[in-house]
Symmetry: C2
Subunit: 210 residues, 2 copies
């Protein structure tokens, strides 16, 4: 059965990006510390065209998070906001061959034609909010899952609308002190931990959302 | 070797008590939801004089958290603050036989004589801050551990002073939305997850603190 999932790295004090995010520094100050565990893995390196990285429990978690995905949803800033970001010529900041290789539905207020990229990634622009994004992504995914990539706002919108079935948090043992919080403005979801994977770098907790 | 430890229940959004804490409602609105998992366990019930409760991974975690403790430290509010809380006649809100059965060092600004309670609990009042509390509690604990019970401020003071060796968080899958945060004003500790125990109710993560 298709489910709508999301997974995201979060600091132990609840931030998914550091303070002072900008187009030049989308992760904010210190935000790169949330992703060091992932970049160290073999699976992340493989997805990004490298043969290096460690085989590890963390690597297996990343592999599992994409294994059954049939379509992605992302927020407009993650597609590539910022000055000039909505010029017709702008193709997002994922380059000519984005690492998705699947349909990606971008939440936006701007109607635009789909953008077909190399490597089977097509960006579709959705102006009808999370309900339309979920419907179209589920259709595209068929019997596979829909993954909401982020950013925080997109995940919050899915949680608040009761449209997320599963949330996996990669809890990174750093304190950022300030930045962008994930678990605000997301309604009152009922969360039930269903799987935990531990490593020396990060604790992966999967929650079923009701 | 003696270590200084602390363990505390925390909501997934980072709160150790709900909003609007008061002497009548020290856990704040919704704060009791942080402790339901513990109260359901056999070990908690045993410590509080009952024979009920569930044997479970959660119960084992609680048992382990007290097994090697030789002395406790707590903040003044946890001893029993509030109006009249520092009258000489006031003996804290833990009753005549508190559930500690060990020396308890209370951080306070008020010099007072020790209070010996039934069941081998003695409250000692420490006016020299966390350094003195740690020194005296380690002495009393001998070759056993010192456990900082709370509240949040006491744990923050130990973290900020680099005097905590281990922090165990019981991460409860509830969102309180507001209240008292734990991981603020605690300096920049380096945390390393060393043990994780998972249950359907709560995720227990132990961090080594450097």
């Amino acid at each position: 059965m298709t489910k709508v999932t999301s997974h995201i790295s979060i600091s132990l004090d609840g931030f998914v990006a550091g303070p002072e995010q900008s187009p030049d520094n989308p992760l904010g100050i210190g935000g790169e510390r949330l992703h060091e565990w992932a970049i160290a893995t073999h699976e992340w390196q493989r997805q990004h065209g490298s043969g290096t990285g460690e085989a590890s429990a963390d690597s297996d978690v990343i592999a599992a998070s994409v294994r059954n995905v049939g379509a992605y949803v992302m927020g407009r800033n993650m597609f590539g906001g910022g000055p000039g970001g909505w010029e017709e010529s702008w193709r997002g900041w994922w380059g000519e061959e984005p690492p998705f290789h699947l349909p990606v539905f971008v939440l936006t207020h701007h109607e635009r034609a789909p953008r077909q990229m190399r490597g089977d990634t097509t960006f579709h622009f959705v102006t009808g909010g999370v309900a339309e994004a979920e419907r179209r992504a589920r259709e595209a995914a068929g019997d596979r899952d829909v993954s909401v990539i982020g950013g925080a706002t997109a995940i919050q919108q899915f949680l608040a609308a009761g449209r997320l079935d599963e949330l996996q948090l990669h809890v990174v043992p750093v304190l950022l002190g300030a930045g962008e919080r994930l678990l605000v403005n997301c309604g009152e979801p009922t969360l039930e931990p269903t799987e935990v994977v531990a490593s020396p770098r990060v604790t992966h907790i999967t929650y079923r959302v009701r």
